[in-house]
């Protein structure tokens, strides 16, 4: 494993607002990362700092051991596809695909052509006249066909229908298997990408809440459902991240792996154990801080 990106004490302030607050993490080469978090959590700002599009207020970013700012050695290896990408007036999709090979050394024209057909992108219409989903598809095709060693996708699916999104996930995984690269994907649709992600970085209010391999995260919480007293007895001493209930019934989400013996005990006590999806877990953890202090 070699480190491809390293952020240390990374901070970005806009006036009095701190968008990214003393964040440190590393990204290993050739893995798929999910950069998750709520709106305004700081995902886009982090990506802009990692790609040299914005300047850090404090701390440092290194990509291949160098600052990405104004660094064409680094940026030649990066493809950054963002939802907010603006295109000049009069530019058509065909212009974008004609220009892209000049900037991406690994650009694959055959792949681009296949993807353009699959996403049904109108090549000859002004991009400003395309639908939101079609504009997103242009970005997705550039991001995939560029085969850049480091590819950032910042909420690339906006306006894409379910079929197109699935197509994006399938083609990303397929091409990643053929040409391993480092992918950093920010998204709200966590359930849709949870099988894709190898590592999860969860940010909230500019800070990192989770920085863990996705595998570890998947079995790391369970929901216990049953009679209030039984549930309370079972979860005693465990870390509770969510509590819910009606009348005499309770549903409590706890963290930590459960051993087979514990599972058997739960069943014996008439409790139901439900797995917690990545999305649920992240929703629970993101809202956990405001939940603290809530007693069962």
């Amino acid at each position: 494993m070699s480190t491809i990106i390293e952020a240390r004490g990374l901070t970005k302030r806009f006036g009095s607002f701190t968008a990214v607050d003393d964040v440190s993490f590393t990204v290993e080469e050739n893995r798929i990362y999910g950069l998750l978090g709520r709106n305004g959590a700081g995902k886009t700002t982090i990506m802009q700092l990692l790609t040299g599009q914005d300047f850090a207020t404090d701390g440092s970013v290194s990509v291949y051991g160098q600052s990405p700012v104004e660094n064409s050695r680094v940026l030649s290896n990066v493809s950054f596809i963002k939802e907010s990408q603006k295109y000049p007036d009069g530019i058509r999709a065909k212009h974008v695909f004609a220009a892209a090979p000049n900037f991406y050394g690994n650009w694959n024209p055959e792949l681009a052509e296949e993807l353009i057909a699959e996403f049904r992108i109108p090549l000859n219409r002004d991009i400003k006249k395309l639908s939101r989903g079609q504009v997103s598809a242009v970005g997705v095709v550039v991001g995939l066909a560029s085969r850049a060693p480091i590819t950032f996708f910042d909420e690339p699916y906006l306006g894409l229908d379910a079929v197109a999104r699935q197509l994006f996930y399938d083609r990303l995984l397929e091409d990643y298997a053929l040409f391993p690269r480092t992918v950093i994907l920010s998204t709200h649709l966590i359930d849709e990408v949870s099988d894709l992600l190898e590592h999860v970085i969860l940010v909230d209010e500019g800070r990192i809440l989770i920085d863990t391999p996705a595998e570890e995260l998947r079995g790391s919480a369970s929901t216990v459902v049953g009679k209030r007293v039984d549930v309370a007895a079972f979860v005693a001493g465990r870390e509770i991240i969510h509590t819910d209930g009606i009348g005499g019934l309770a549903s409590v989400t706890i963290t930590g792996q459960l051993s087979p013996a514990e599972r058997a005990a739960a069943t014996a006590a008439g409790l139901e154990l439900a797995p917690v999806s990545l999305q649920q877990l992240i929703v629970r953890l993101s809202s956990h801080e405001s939940m603290e202090g809530t007693e069962l």
């Binding site: 070699s2 480190t3 050695r73 940026l75 030649s76 220009a99 900037f103």
Partner: protein, 251 residues
Amino acid sequence: MTAVPALAAPPAFSRVWNVVRLHMISKNTFIVIPWLIIAGATVVSLVIPALLAYNGVSRADISEGAVNSWAVLSPMWYLCAVAVLAIAQFFPFSLGFGVTRRDFYLGTSLVFLISAIATGAVLATLGEIETATDGWGLGARMYTALFFDQGSWIANFFLFTVIQLGILFVGAAIATVYMRWRMWGMLVFWLGSVVVIVVGISAITFSNSWTLVGETLASLGVMGVFAWTLVPIALAAFAGFFILRRATPKN
């Protein structure tokens, strides 16, 4: 262990040239639209003398009246918009392709230079033809109107090129102020400009120096004045570079 870059960056000039190609990817901006405007202005500049001649106005009178035609400057207003959009729209677009600010600015400047020189050369050549054909056989003047009749191709070419460079680089520099500081930048910039102009005019007026200014301009001549404007143009070009180096492509 730190990963090593898989791809080497292209050499400096080809990175800059990629930006030039990006600007030129849609031929409309720098080629089709300016020449459509020039063609339209040319048609008007030829139809009017034809109408006057039909009504019995002498060719000498037509030629004399047409000296004040601004037709040849008609594409220059459009260039102002081109300069602004070349920064405002292509800066975020180029950075989306992983272009550095430095390469973007150098490439954009190169496009300005190529476009100003190419257009200047064609306009000066059309001026030569206009003179040789006695105003396209109608006494019309468009490409040799105003002060664009310096007697040599190279002198007229110089004037046309300098005007375009001025519009492009000053327009671009103003756009970089917007990219860097947004609305507040614009506000401060325009208020500042007004103050500078008012102070300048007042200083000349109160020191009774208008005659001196007039004499200086007259002694420099058209060529001298245009040569001197290269200094503020170069300053605008450098200012644009340093302002854009710290700008971010945000909405």
